[in-house]
């Protein structure tokens, strides 16, 4: 039994090393206050729960993310937002006011400077010492280096433009999609509304058959299109299309798509005429294009194939030719070796030379003949 070094209670002086603060793997939360004290200010709520700016918040018309004003466009000193002119001299008050009005970009910005000038200046009294256009007061104006949004004076907003097809063909009993898209100079707001109206062929009045507002589609439940309309559009993608199921001959007529995107509400609507046939006729030009494209494609393909095959054949011919000439040369060497065994050196050399010359001529003639026939085939 050796000495027992275990003790049931851990000795406390070495435990501190394992506390999380010294291991640095986590640390307990620092105590924080739930509400900021009132002398530090208050939080301005400018957006709703979904992150959309509240309508009362001034927003830039040029760009939803504001216009960037760079560091070098910012003034060297930002004038104070709230100025009290009481007991200031006339000259001092005048210089302060002038300083505030000096940079129009800061004032015209949608969340820019909103100067509050309170009080009245002293008239013609002794100038007071402290007059420097001081450090900016505790106003919610951003620091120089922060992004500063400024909106430019805009030309009046253009009207909303709606696009639909001009004509749509459908077969009886099937379904058809009526597309509707739009262009708006304003960004798609939550109050956007789509309305589809139907005017029967030969009729005079247009009845409203579909309405979409505030994210909720309302389809016709009592009229001629009862339970036949389906909303397939998406305001985010600027699409206000509907699908009409189970077409009938009585659906012939003109459909009007009307889009309103507040504040952009002025604009022309667009109409699409629905034709219902027993069998949908093919569009003009489909057969034309198909025949021309098909025949040209086939001809080109055949040509390509032909040239490919010819190229491969020529290559094989060249390879065969090379092998043939190599074989000839081999036979030649073999015969030379045989004769060298019998005779002396020099006459054999001459015989070899003669033989090689004759074979070379023969092979040349053979090549020329082949080439000519090849050209002929071309």
């Amino acid at each position: 039994m050796g000495p027992l070094f275990l003790s049931l209670a851990f000795s406390p002086q070495y435990e501190k090393a394992f506390s999380p603060k010294y291991l640095r793997n986590w640390s307990p939360a620092k105590p924080t206050k739930e509400r900021i004290p009132s002398h530090e200010g208050y939080t301005q709520i400018i957006a709703n729960d979904r992150g959309h700016l509240l309508p009362s918040v001034p927003r830039s018309k040029a760009n939803p993310w504001g216009s960037f004003m760079g560091t070098w466009q910012m003034p060297l000193r930002i004038p104070p937002a709230r100025v009290t002119l009481t007991s200031r001299t006339a000259a001092g008050a005048a210089s302060l006011t002038k300083w505030i009005q000096k940079n129009p970009d800061l004032l015209k910005a949608s969340n820019g400077l909103r100067p509050e000038i309170l009080g009245k200046a002293l008239r013609a009294l002794a100038p007071s010492p402290a007059m420097a256009p001081g450090a900016p007061s505790s106003s919610p104006s951003p620091v120089l280096a922060v992004l500063f949004f400024s909106s430019l004076v805009l030309p009046p907003a253009q009207a909303i433009v709606v696009y639909t097809d001009r004509e749509v063909h459908g077969a009886v009993g099937s379904r058809v999609t009526l597309h509707c898209s739009f262009w708006s100079s304003e960004w798609v707001s939550d109050d956007i509304s789509f309305t589809w109206r139907y005017q029967p062929e030969g009729g005079r009045d247009a009845i409203s058959i579909f309405h979409y507002a505030k994210g909720q589609p309302y389809i016709d439940e009592v009229g001629a299109f009862k339970e036949r309309i389906q909303w397939v559009g998406d305001p985010r993608w600027k699409d206000g299309s509907i699908v009409i199921h189970n077409l009938d001959y009585s659906d012939n007529g003109t459909f009007t798509c009307d889009v309103k995107n507040p504040p952009d509400i002025v604009g022309k609507t667009s109409q699409v005429t629905l034709y219902v046939f027993e069998k949908v006729p093919t569009r003009y030009g489909v057969v034309l294009g198909a025949v021309i494209g098909g025949v040209l494609g086939v001809v080109l393909l055949l040509l390509l194939l032909f040239y490919l095959v010819r190229y491969c054949w020529l290559r094989r011919q060249a390879a065969l030719q090379r092998r043939l000439s190599a074989m000839e040369k081999g036979k030649l060497h073999k015969s030379a070796k045989d004769s060298s065994k019998r005779g002396r050196q020099t006459p054999v050399l001459y015989a070899m030379l003669d033989h090689s010359r004759s074979t070379r001529a023969a092979s040349e003639k053979k090549a020329k003949g082949l080439g000519e026939s090849r050209k002929d085939k071309k």
Partner: protein, 159 residues
């Protein structure tokens, strides 16, 4: 030699011109006061005022239009290829590609005219009619195109 070349070129150009005229001019079918072709129907009831409307979108009419256009395309390609091959072909060679394209053009014209003859009642309802000169030109262009193509195939290039 030069005369032969000139003659061949003249023949080819004549075929091309015939094809163009036949496709464009509005005289495939004529009746009293109206004339129709592949692209439009023109009526002139009082003799001076022409009132033209486009032809129907019938599939057969579209195929006739397509084949006529194809024949023009092939003929133009064949002319272009002829000039190419004139300078690149080796001595003794034959103008195969040119001939093939020209023959294809002839076949296209033949199919167009044949389809038109058989199916023209589908897209017009006039009872009295007779064939106009553009129709005749299409049939004339056929043997000329075939002849031209065959000549190209047989011909051998000489210096």
């Amino acid at each position: 030699m030069l005369l032969l070349l000139l003659g061949i070129i003249v023949l080819h150009v004549a075929v091309l011109v015939l094809l163009f005229v036949s496709t464009i001019v509005s005289q495939w079918l004529v009746g009293n006061g109206h004339a129709m072709d592949l692209w439009q129907n023109c009526t002139s009831p009082s003799g001076s005022v022409h009132h033209c409307s486009s032809s129907s979108a019938n599939e057969w009419l579209q195929s006739v239009q397509a084949t006529m256009i194809l024949s023009i395309i092939f003929s133009v390609l064949s002319l272009f290829l002829f000039f190419c091959q004139l300078f690149t072909l080796t001595k003794g060679g034959r103008f195969y590609i040119t001939g093939i394209f020209q023959i294809l053009a002839g076949l296209c014209v033949m199919s167009a005219a044949a389809i038109y003859t058989v199916r023209h009642t589908e897209w017009h309802l006039n009872s009295e009619y007779s064939y106009g000169f553009a129709y005749i030109l299409a049939w004339v262009a056929l043997p000329l195109a075939l002849l031209s193509g065959v000549i190209y195939v047989i011909l051998r290039k000489r210096e």
